[in-house]
């Protein structure tokens, strides 16, 4: 018997997936317009799209909740399909994706910080030149 929280968690995964795609689309639009440093918006977009991992979790949890498959059969499928040099197990794979997402956010954040630092310095330089 599934508790209410199971359904709420499933909805949370679905919401995270949808928002991830939405944010990826918006930031990709900014990057395409080449406004500012499009690299960090592209990185942000790539980070956001990785929220589709929550979509996979959504599908798995729905499948388990409605007994569409069992954990054992799911694990067998995962083990079959993953000849990657990664630790086996879908949890590790999902968290590896989140590690990549975190890294992309960190790099995008760093680039954005560089942008604003340079902006601040350039504005100060322009104003001090104007005063002379």
């Amino acid at each position: 018997m599934a508790a209410l929280i199971d359904y709420v968690v499933i909805l949370a995964h679905a919401l995270s997936t949808i928002i991830g795609i939405w944010v990826a689309y918006l930031t990709f639009k900014i990057a395409k317009k080449n406004v500012g440093v499009s690299t960090y918006w592209t990185l942000f977009s790539m980070a956001a799209i990785l929220n589709v991992t929550h979509g996979v979790m959504f599908l798995i949890k729905v499948g388990l909740l409605f007994n569409l498959f069992s954990v054992a059969s799911l694990m067998a499928l995962v083990q079959q399909g993953m000849a990657l040099p990664l630790p086996s197990g879908m949890y590790a794979f999902a968290h590896t994706i989140f590690a990549i997402q975190g890294m992309l956010f960190a790099v995008a954040g760093f680039m954005m910080l560089q942008f604003y630092t340079k902006l601040s310095l350039d504005m100060n330089a322009m104003m001090s030149k104007g005063k002379k």
Partner: protein
């Protein structure tokens, strides 16, 4: 609205309030040109065209 106020609004939209505050230190006659230069360098000429509407 004065030229400075219009510049401040645009700079606030593009970069945020901190950058907009710096416009106060600019001269009324030069602010449009200076802000346009900054926006061109950081966001490209397309966005800088919005300063052409300031009178």
């Amino acid at each position: 609205m004065t030229k400075k106020d219009q510049c401040k609004k645009l700079m606030s939209d593009f970069f945020g309030p901190a950058t907009a505050e710096k416009v106060d230190a600019m001269d009324e006659n030069n602010c449009v040109e200076q802000c346009k230069t900054i926006v061109t360098n950081f966001l490209g000429p397309e966005k800088a065209k919005e300063f052409d509407n300031i009178n």
